[in-house]
């Protein structure tokens, strides 16, 4: 079945350092979504990428979708303590109802 691999599993940074998490799918995706889950919270939608090579920015967050629509990345510039949480990618294939989630990257930030 479809798999979405996400690395790294954990990342600890000093406040102000950059952070990147990567997702790779075994199959071509129709879109990829990113979610953030704060400690003790539930996943909250961040963004959706649909087009090959698409790049979107939200303040200090930059999201990319690969040319082959099989990989994606989330980059945070100059992390802050408010960025702490687990970041999940989730891929959708064709018109399938399902999203397949990566296992997530837990980001901790040392102030």
């Amino acid at each position: 079945g479809q798999q979405v691999m996400q690395i790294p599993q954990y990342q600890h940074v000093q406040e102000g350092e950059d952070f990147t998490t990567y997702c790779n799918s075994s199959t071509t995706l129709s879109n990829i979504q990113w979610y953030k889950q704060r400690p003790g919270g539930h996943p909250v939608f961040l963004i959706q990428l649909v087009k090959s090579g698409e790049v979107k920015k939200q303040k200090r967050l930059t999201f990319q979708f690969g040319e082959a629509k099989k990989n994606s990345s989330l980059h945070i510039t100059a992390t802050q303590t408010t960025d702490v949480g687990t970041y999940f990618c989730a891929g959708k294939r064709g018109s399938n109802y399902k999203l397949t989630f990566g296992k997530g990257t837990l980001l901790t930030v040392n102030p």
């Binding site: 079945g1 996943p43 999203l99 989630f101």
Partner: protein
């Protein structure tokens, strides 16, 4: 704002009990999903429903069943709870598979089976 609510934040049950987890969404969404979340395993899809009375198995349906009698409500049933079903259960809803299919999650139910 979309609101997804779950009947309990914490639940403790005994092995062999029948357990009902309820989820309600207030935005007339077509699709509803049940996931379980375990450390190191991420979110795994148990069942989903794309219409009233319609359901499909996800990746880990064994030991679970679901019910969707009304559009806004999606129930997860553990027929005979076992200790390996101790987990965080998350419900989600989305508008449609071909449109804006962002998933909106409820707060989760942390189930402990003793």
């Amino acid at each position: 704002d979309v609101k997804v609510t779950q009947s309990s934040r914490y639940l403790v049950k005994r092995t062999g009990e029948k357990v009902f987890l309820e989820c309600v969404q207030d935005m007339d969404h077509e699709n509803m999903f049940w996931y379980r979340q375990d450390p190191g395993l991420g979110l795994r899809l148990i069942y989903f429903s794309y219409d009233v009375k319609m359901k499909e198995k996800g990746d880990i349906p064994e030991g679970y069943s679901v019910s969707r009698e009304k559009k806004e409500r999606f129930s997860l049933i553990l027929e005979s709870a076992s200790t390996n079903q101790t987990s965080m259960y998350l419900c989600a809803s989305s508008l449609s598979p071909t449109g804006a299919d962002t998933q909106y999650f409820g707060p989760g139910t942390r189930l402990t089976v003793l």
